[in-house]
Symmetry: C2
Subunit: 397 residues, 2 copies
Amino acid sequence: MTDFAQTKKLFHLPEGVIYLDGNSLGPLPKAAPARMQTALQDEWGEMLITGWNKAGWMEQPARVGDRIARLIGAEPGHVVMGDTLSIKVYQALASALEMNPNRKVILSDSGNFPSDLYMAEGLIKSLNAGHELRVVAPEDIAANITDDIAVTLLTEVDYRTGRLHDMTALTALAHDKGALTVWDLAHTAGATPVDLSGAQADFAVGCTYKYLNGGPGAPAFIYVAPRHADAARPALSGWLGHDAPFAFELGYRPGPGIERMRVGTPPVLALSALEAALDIWDMTTMREVRARSVELTRLFIDEVEKRCPDLCLATPRDPARRGSQVSFRFEHGYAAMQALIARGVIGDFRAPDIMRFGFTPLYIDADDVTRAVDTLAEVMTNRLWDTPEYKTRARVT
Amino acid sequence: MTDFAQTKKLFHLPEGVIYLDGNSLGPLPKAAPARMQTALQDEWGEMLITGWNKAGWMEQPARVGDRIARLIGAEPGHVVMGDTLSIKVYQALASALEMNPNRKVILSDSGNFPSDLYMAEGLIKSLNAGHELRVVAPEDIAANITDDIAVTLLTEVDYRTGRLHDMTALTALAHDKGALTVWDLAHTAGATPVDLSGAQADFAVGCTYKYLNGGPGAPAFIYVAPRHADAARPALSGWLGHDAPFAFELGYRPGPGIERMRVGTPPVLALSALEAALDIWDMTTMREVRARSVELTRLFIDEVEKRCPDLCLATPRDPARRGSQVSFRFEHGYAAMQALIARGVIGDFRAPDIMRFGFTPLYIDADDVTRAVDTLAEVMTNRLWDTPEYKTRARVT
């Protein structure tokens, strides 16, 4: 059984801060600085170019991918790291569209993270072949999986509301209608259990700087189902996805399986920080994390609804239908979040009126939740948000 | 005037090693570990999500881009960092093709780094609009810039031979024939002076882990000429290239100028290491680096030709026609390079028979060159390469 009091000690959490924004950027694992020093000094510094072989940098994207595979129910050897989530969305989507050439519709929902939609839009313009991006409300997705859909592009957990799609049911429905699926796990990986293999998902992508705690701008991952892995054509066909990168052939031949989804030189330093973060994930299971997450989000919802009547729950009340975040709508949500942050409770704000709080059992416990609600209740009861300094519009990531 | 003895002291160079592979992966700047600790502990650790604003992470890609702009003759505000070189090649090429819609030919040469060709091949397949990748010998490029060329895709310095294209002349010729230009500066940035603005280059891309010493897998850069910057459509249209990324609109609107070439969340940690490396570049000018580089490469060529008659120069003898590397062909080049590396002189090998040596004045001096030649002469004269342990084929980056 996971000792969450112990995992909490493995993170650096600034004095006086309750950090409920790990769904946006996870905190620093205490082991990351030492791991980074090893990568910098013992590997890069001492090995120089030979680090690609001696330090295992070349295999690092697959090695790290395997550690993430365990957390998302992927078959070992079918996840690889690199680039950013947006790039990986493009790769997955381009491959999926080619595998379903007689259909032209990408189905997504308005709760998808906008960058996924932007990447789809850019791809469609480049393809210039009559594709359409069809965006419906999240609750209307199932009804819109019709037999003209080439691929569904869905983020499992809605970045604003925390609403959780039913991956297994929607994937089955998509397959039944002849569509492929691309799942974005940005708010899922490390937040809720996923079973990519069991759900028979076709493609999945995700980032590692949120619940996985890989650091600002940490690399993304991509999963391709084993049944597709040797068939998918990488539109972004870079040398490290080549079957023989160091033969320097003039023509591209895709590498085996997921390897072909590699593009350029891997981000060794960033992957090293991520490796330190994943050591903590090795100490637990997604089942235990999920159980604790449900307790924490339930406690938060209950207490906030009791004490802050002006806040309106935007997240599904049924724990089975939400991820590991809780969002409340409030007209002055931006100012209220500023007031909270000024008092050491860090959540974030998403336009137009969403106050968002992430619950991350590796380092957040029930006592944190109670204290966060105390502060929130104080802000709301005393209208502490109603001051000019908090009302300026600003950029929040 | 640059004190190169001083800049040399700013790098960590392992005891007993002469490092002539900085054209593949530059060495560790001694200031990088401390800069990385700041990024990890003071920024990520203490600021958490607020680092995006407080530590300036959000503007880091443009801030670092401006420092590189100075080294490549780009106008300030027209270079931005992110992703890998291969991804940036794709972006530049996709934009350029769209800007020249009535033409279908991408012209490149067989000395281009294969990943650039692979990315072009992948793009062409995705576009499915009858484009052609025409690859000719490097010396035949000028004659092949005909009025059916949409865009030239050239690496200024040939990764194998070190041959330097005449960017100004070829760009003028391309424009004269109605073609656009994409220049890959992988082996140029930090190696030879470039004047993108003066040459009227249209697009340029490059990496930062070679001569710029940003570390393994350091991020790439992209330049778009000011006259195109508000017209180019980013095929990879990610949220950070959006005009208002934090408005989370459902539709994509490209940001102003080079900002639209940003895609996903920037690699903050990797960019921080690169910033430490760029501090050293602030102490010199490309003119001085080039003068010293020409001295070093000339000395190396002269001495090797005197003492190693079995090696055949593959690099242009005229310094004006080469970058900052020297390559020799030798049938047993792989084994000879292994023998050299075993004796502390690190260069690298490129199939089929190229022994490659990079000369990087920031930390390599004439004494290093002389000692490297002594070792090479010893390896060649005594056939030290002719042992089974060096003859196994292996992967070299």
